[in-house]
Amino acid sequence: MAVGTTERGALTHPDIERLDDVNRDVLKMLSVPGKGWWALFAMCVAGVGLFLSAWFWQIYKGIGVSGLMSPVGWGVYITTFVFWVGIGHAGTLISAILFLFRAPWRQSIYRAAEGMTVFAVMTAGLFPLIHVGRVWHAYWLIPYPNSRFLWPNFKSPLVWDVFAVTTYFTVSAVFFYLGTIPDVAAARDRATGLRRKLYGAISLGWQGTDKQWHHFGKAYIFLAALATPLVLSVHSVVSWDFAMSIVPGWHATIFAPYFVAGAVFSGVAMVITLLAPLRKIFGLEAYLTVKHFDAMAKLCLFTSLVVLYAYLSEFFLAWYSGEDPERHAFWNRLFGTYWWATWTMLVCNGFVPVMLWFKRVRHSIPALFVISIFINIGMWFERYVIVVTSLHNEYEPFAWGIYRPSVIEMSIMVGSFFWFGFWFLLFTRLLPPIAIQELKEVLPPPMRKKKSSEVAEAHQ
């Protein structure tokens, strides 16, 4: 199977000859699911059950059911929060930034990546709620008019977080929704019964007229431009949760770019993790080509280098500061109680991606899948290292302590993956996971089909 390139640079596949094929192949995914899908979905439903029951138990009993303690007041919950916010990055990066930069390889992956963004941010948004002691009062962080003139403290990075995450979720959800409208309309045209009505409502009466396309295009560019700064801002703000504090290991100016790079790194890795099986399950080899994966692998490699640079500069600056609390914090990362977390992070994020220098690795989907899993693990541990090892040995040596995550905490953390998977699986079944209309844009214009003899001639 040879892979060609259109004049606009998009990747095409010889098997796709007619625009109609795209509709057929993509919308096929929305038809009756196979056993594999159902098995995954059942697993996710069970996982969501675990997630919710662990959470409700925690609300009932108190945060004490976690392993959190003094001095480690933030642990797996905040680690997982930052992890999911980071995952949420790749989607917007791929859909908005690469759209603005007209990167040719994004069309077939951006829908899935965007879906991932929305669900990841949705998952991430739960974690601040999970980790507060009195979730029933969590709305106090939102500025709302009240008779007692009680406002949140706008100096607190946690309030910034509320704005950053909610804004990001809103914009990425709207952006995601907007992009799906023409495709949902395509699905509507094929669907019957209840589905047809539902898709009809979601597609807002899309007819595909020129005027609609015109407005659609404008709105899409506009939202892409709006979402782009958010890619940078949301994780910068999340990084300030740490950087604005005085905790050694948190208080660093490098945090914002470091976190954004880490977010893109983990996000792209997660896209690979999700698309590799999706490609297999739904037979989308024609749409998700090796070239796509190669491009994503290169992005991973680049961000891996940025992240590794950030690690090294942190170690250097800790030494260079000459302050014992700072120096100890970083020495403790490498050789202290949580050395294994730090080394997991360094190996997974710094050393494993070195393999991506090799084209053979970048072109092997199984290899990329495995590496992406390593990166996911490494990036989770990066946040664990930042949150936990910094807190557990702080300024006051007498108050040092060791945090051990509890079963409930790990259940909620693992459960969040199922929660994410639950929504993502539903998404693959209910909305076209590959953007039909954008793919069509880059396909060669439809032509009368040549006779088979002519085809044979052309190939000679």
Binding site: K61, G62, I63, G64, G67, L68, M69, S70, P71, V72, G73, W74, P128, H131, V132, G133, R134, H137, A138, W140, L141, L150, P152, N153, K155, S156, P157, L158, V159, V162, D241, M244, S245, I246, V247, E323, D324, P325, H328, L391, N393, E394, Y395, E396, P397, F398, A399, W400, G401, I402, Y403, R404
Partner: protein, 1013 residues
């Protein structure tokens, strides 16, 4: 927290659901009716505390003021006019409220029926006892009364009662000073305890005497006063500790001589011999000739130069004082060791200066031989009725004493225990005594100090208790005897009444005055301090004595030191969550027992901290986790008393191990005391490990200057002082609005300059003219005794969390005492540098916790207090993460609901919110006391709050006088005066510019600090 669903809970739920099914619009599950006082009691104003003076019931006899609110005792304070307590009591004193409200107290008299006890009425119980005594007397058998410490009037009543029934009284104390009493008798012919005037001494030698651990607030204050640098900075006493293990007391020393266990006598005699010239040693001159420094060096394992230097200094000191071994050092020659220190004192001219003989103090010094004889009589069957009051010998005597068997075989056993203990568990009749806060009585710890014990509240209604004195009077009347009173109250008043028989009205007036002051007689200040009733001279001992190092039983390779716990004493205070959760002042371990072992020893045996080891002597063995401690000799291990209760209420039972299980019964001669430093043990790993329930993270402050010190010789020339830690005074830069970065002098010691000019001070610190509240804590005074922690818990409704939670690192204490090692060396005599640092919220002027709270639950009051608004807290815990001092504690569960059973919650201070699940809390500088004082000041004509009018719980509890609260902005206030010192520093301020309101004064060391580590 929970043990699954209990039947009772199930029924509750069932009941609640059926109630819910039939009713709509239910509010709280239990509706309580709140009725205001219809006729208000004269003494009670709702919301205003009423104070009563009384006396604690331990042998030290501290005067107390008890704060009651709406008829409930909520807080104990020291009586500031009492000569012993002088405003502070010990940690057990503060915790006495938990014994008062102990839910495990007996609901009423318990009468044994077969294997179980049934509750009876008082009349039934008293008739039963009368009948048993009657039968017993008829059968020609004895009545025996085994009693612990009791006041003089109660003692008189017991003796009169026993006189009526032909009984005998045996005094028993789990922790007894018998060797010292015997030594004093031998040396001076006076059968009393001497009084050591630690306060006035300038060189103090403690030979394995742990006076702070034994809970004496007087000695704690004395040490603090003699040992801290004076205001002019010119004098500072020296404290040398000679002993195999550093107790809390030992950790306060300037020098440690880690002597061989039991070598105190030889050293004391050698020092005395070195000092003595001519006949100053009196009859002991010839004895001293046989002891030289070289002998002492061999016996103690300390090099000669160190001992000779010590002898020279002791000789040169103006007011030297040597104290002989206390309970932790009661080896086979403990009396000889105490006698040797008395000789040393005498030779060095301390008698009449720092050592006073003849003050009438005899409390808690009965020898073990008394109870041993009683056990023999019980075992022989001579005794038909045994009454046990204020003692728990079934727990606190070693198995080998035979008490359990002999007591068990006695036909009728009566216990006056108010709550279950091991002895009561064996009794046939339990007549629960009232707690001393519900009782009448008196106390006379020594001549010149005679105080009143009065009920501070109605007896806790959950428990149908009766004062033992009343019971004895009732039983006596059943037996037809007339002891001159029908109630103990009358009995207590009778002698005073008789004295003023001609003026009953005047008597009533005087009696009220007694109750108001808590003391009998006026002009008590001085309280027998330094009273030498008659001149005394050393005499030849009338018994043979051996001064040489004692032998140790067994073939183990480690000497076992068994010492009273600073928290549980001999075990009588074990069933109190405050005591259990209080970090031990030395080890910082809560709840469970531990074995102390030197890290070098442990390394040699491949043992690690947390390993559960089997400690075995020839007499028994216990399994206990290991804790590594550089403050113990390499050839010794130590175990505290007070653990391992088998039958003592819900908290103490099964907690830890009983050190007595390892001890033989060795009667020290000639005092007759039970020797506790007597056996060797083997320590073998069990292969199991556990996490230790400690609050200690690291004992090394890594030169961060957290607990700072300055050398005594460097005081007075602050420019070139060798202070350790972060000593640099760099200019700090701070971002100020849009004004750019400007320098801020964070180390401005001027207390009036708050907020510091130009600095941005967190939230709400705009121009405010009122006070800036703060603390001054003098590390040179703090002895680490930890009474402040208990007082803080009592004052501020701080819950306890339980062993599993402490293991996780979730202790809730608002105030902890950090203990950092700078120099602890058990291998030879050297200086000792251990720093205690009381750490509570620092009330930073520039608080890192404040800006990070998203909902303003923590903010800065205009008065400089970092306030926490509990009901606004959402529980993000960001403030705790950002607190460099780690003084914010979090309610991980509903500790206040789930851990505190009725009626323990009666102790809650109604002035302080009880916090619930999911919120942060921390030290409030006893904000409610400030408000109270402000309200009072407003009512009294709008005057200013006077300096010293507001006292934090930690301040008022500090017998070492290390903590002072006040207005930092008032240059005349005590706190401003104190911190106007070259020793003042603020923890981590130089590094972080937090500008704390808590100011510390550096510890002053006799060694050079810069070379100290």
């Amino acid at each position: 927290m929970t043990d699954g669903i209990k039947r009772r809970d199930f029924l509750k739920v069932l009941g609640a659901s059926s109630a819910g099914a039939t009713m709509t619009g239910c509010g709280p599950s239990e509706v309580e009716k709140l009725l205001p006082y219809v006729v208000q009691p004269e003494e009670i104003t709702p919301g205003v505390a009423t104070w009563y003076a009384t006396t604690c019931d331990c042998p030290d006899g501290c005067g107390m003021w008890v704060r009651t609110r709406e008829g409930r005792a909520v807080k104990v304070e020291g009586n500031p006019e009492h000569p012993i307590s002088q405003g502070a009591v010990c940690l057990q004193g503060y915790a006495s409220l938990q014994h008062l409200y102990n839910p495990d107290r007996f609901a009423g008299p318990m009468i044994r029926e077969g294997d179980r006890l049934r509750q009876g009425s008082w009349d039934e119980a008293e008739r039963l006892l009368s009948a048993k005594i009657g039968q017993n007397t008829a059968a020609g058998r004895d009545v025996m009364f085994i009693g612990g410490h009791m006041g003089p009037t109660m003692g008189r009543l017991v003796d009169e009662f026993l006189g009526e029934v032909n009984g005998s009284r045996v005094e028993y104390h789990a922790v007894s000073s018998a060797p010292l009493r015997e030594a004093t008798r031998l040396a001076y012919g006076i059968d009393e305890l001497p009084r050591y005037d630690i306060e006035s001494s300038d060189l103090l030698l403690s030979f394995s005497n742990d006076f702070i651990d034994e809970g004496s607030v007087e000695d704690d204050r004395g040490l603090s006063r003699m040992h801290s640098v004076d205001d002019s900075g010119h004098t500072k006493g020296t404290f040398v500790y000679l002993g195999p293990r550093l107790s809390t007391t030992g950790l306060n020393a300037d020098e440690w001589l880690p002597i061989n266990p039991g070598s105190e006598a030889v050293i004391a005699l050698a020092l005395a011999a070195h000092i003595a010239d001519g006949d100053t040693a009196g009859p002991y001159a010839s004895l001293l000739e046989t002891y030289g420094i070289a002998d002492a060096a061999v016996a103690s394992g300390i090099d000669e130069d160190a001992l000779r230097g010590l002898a020279d200094r002791f000789s040169a000191a103006e007011r030297p004082l040597a104290i002989g071994p206390g309970v932790g050092g009661h080896h086979k020659n403990a009396t000889a060791a105490n006698l040797a220190t008395l000789i040393l004192n005498d030779v060095a001219g301390a008698k009449g200066v720092t050592v006073h003989v003849g003050g009438g103090a005899t409390a808690a010094s009965a020898p073990f031989s008394d109870i041993a004889e009683a056990i023999e009589r019980m075992a022989r069957g001579d005794v038909g009725v045994v009454l046990v009051h204020g003692a728990n010998p079934a727990y606190s005597l070693p198995e080998g004493s035979g008490f359990r068997e002999a007591f068990g075989e006695t036909s009728f056993k009566v216990s006056f225990a108010s709550a279950m203990d091991e002895t009561a568990a064996m009794a046939d009749l339990i007549m629960p005594d009232r707690h001393f806060l519900e009782s009448w009585g008196d106390s006379k710890p020594r001549e010149g100090v005679h105080t009143v014990q009065q009920p501070v509240m109605q007896p806790v209604p959950h428990f149908d208790s009766k004062q033992a004195g009343d019971v004895l009077l009732a039983v006596a009347s059943h037996l037809g005897a007339d002891l001159g009173a029908s109630t103990f109250y009358e009995y207590l008043r009778a002698p005073h009444q008789t004295m003023h028989a001609d003026d009953p009205e005047g008597f009533e007036q005087m009696w009220r005055e007694h109750l108001r002051t808590g003391m009998f007689g006026m002009g008590m200040m001085g309280g027998g301090r330094g009273v030498d009733s008659q001149p005394v001279e050393l005499r030849m001992p009338d018994r043979p004595l051996t001064f040489d190092n004692p032998s140790f039983d067994g073939v183990g390779d480690l000497t076992l030191i068994v010492h009273p716990s600073p928290r549980f004493k001999g075990g009588e205070f074990s069933n109190s969550p405050w005591m259990l959760e209080l970090p031990d002042p030395v080890s910082k371990i809560t709840w469970h027992s531990w074995l102390e072992m030197n890290p070098v020893t442990a390394e040699g045996r491949g043992l690690r901290e947390g390993d559960i080891v089997t400690v075995a002597s020839e007499y028994g063995s216990v399994d206990v986790p290991l804790w590594l401690y550089p403050g113990i000799r390499e050839d010794a291990v130590a175990l505290a008393m007070g653990g391992g209760h088998t039958d003592m209420g819900r908290w103490a039972t099964g907690q830890g191990v009983n050190a007595m299980d390892l001890l033989p019964v060795h009667v020290e001669q000639p005092s007759g005391a039970l020797a506790t430093l007597v056996t060797t043990v083997t320590v073998t790993p069990t292969g199991e490990r556990r996490r230790i329930a400690t609050i200690e993270g690291s004992n090394n402050q890594r030169d961060r200057g957290i607990a700072a010190a300055v050398a005594f010789t460097d005081l007075g020339h602050s420019e070139e002082q060798h202070s350790d830690g972060v000593g640099h005074h760099d200019e700090l830069m701070e971002l100020q609005g849009f004004g750019g970065v400007q320098p801020v002098d964070a180390h401005d010691g001027d207390p009036t300059a708050y907020p510091l000019p130009g600095a941005d001070h967190g939230l709400y610190a705009d121009a405010h003219e009122g006070p800036r509240w703060g603390l001054a804590i003098d590390l040179d005074k703090c002895t680490g005794c930890s009474a402040c922690i208990v007082a803080c818990h009592a004052e501020n409704n701080v819950p306890w969390v339980g062993e599993d939670q402490v293991v996780m690192g979730r202790d809730m204490t608002w105030l902890r005492i950090e203990r950092y090692y700078e120099h602890v060396d058990a291998s030879h005599a050297s200086h000792l540098d251990v720093r205690f640092l009381p750490m509570m919220c620092q009330h930073c002027g520039n608080a890192p916790c404040e800006p990070v709270c998203p909902v303003y639950a923590t903010y800065h009051t205009p008065e400089g207090i970092n306030a926490q608004i509990y009901n606004r807290c959402v529980g993000t815990r960001y403030c705790a993460n950002n607190c460099p001092y780690k003084v914010r504690v979090y309610n991980w569960y509903r500790y206040t609901d789930e851990n505190v059973p009725e009626p323990m919650n009666w102790q809650w201070n109604p002035d302080v919110t009880v916090r619930t699940n999911g919120i942060m809390e921390k030290c409030s500088l006893c904000m409610h006391n400030i408000r109270d004082a402000e309200n009072r000041a407003a009512l009294e004509g709008g005057r200013e709050v006077r300096d010293g009018e507001v006292r934090c719980a930690c301040e008022s509890s500090c017998s070492a006088e290390a903590i002072v609260f006040g207005d930092l902005r008032d240059p005349e206030s005590r706190v401003s005066q104190i911190i106007n010192s070259e020793r003042t520093y603020r923890v981590l301020d130089d590094l972080l510019n937090t500008q704390p309101g808590v100011n510390y004064l550096k510890k002053v060391t006799h060694h050079d600090v810069s070379e100290g580590h």
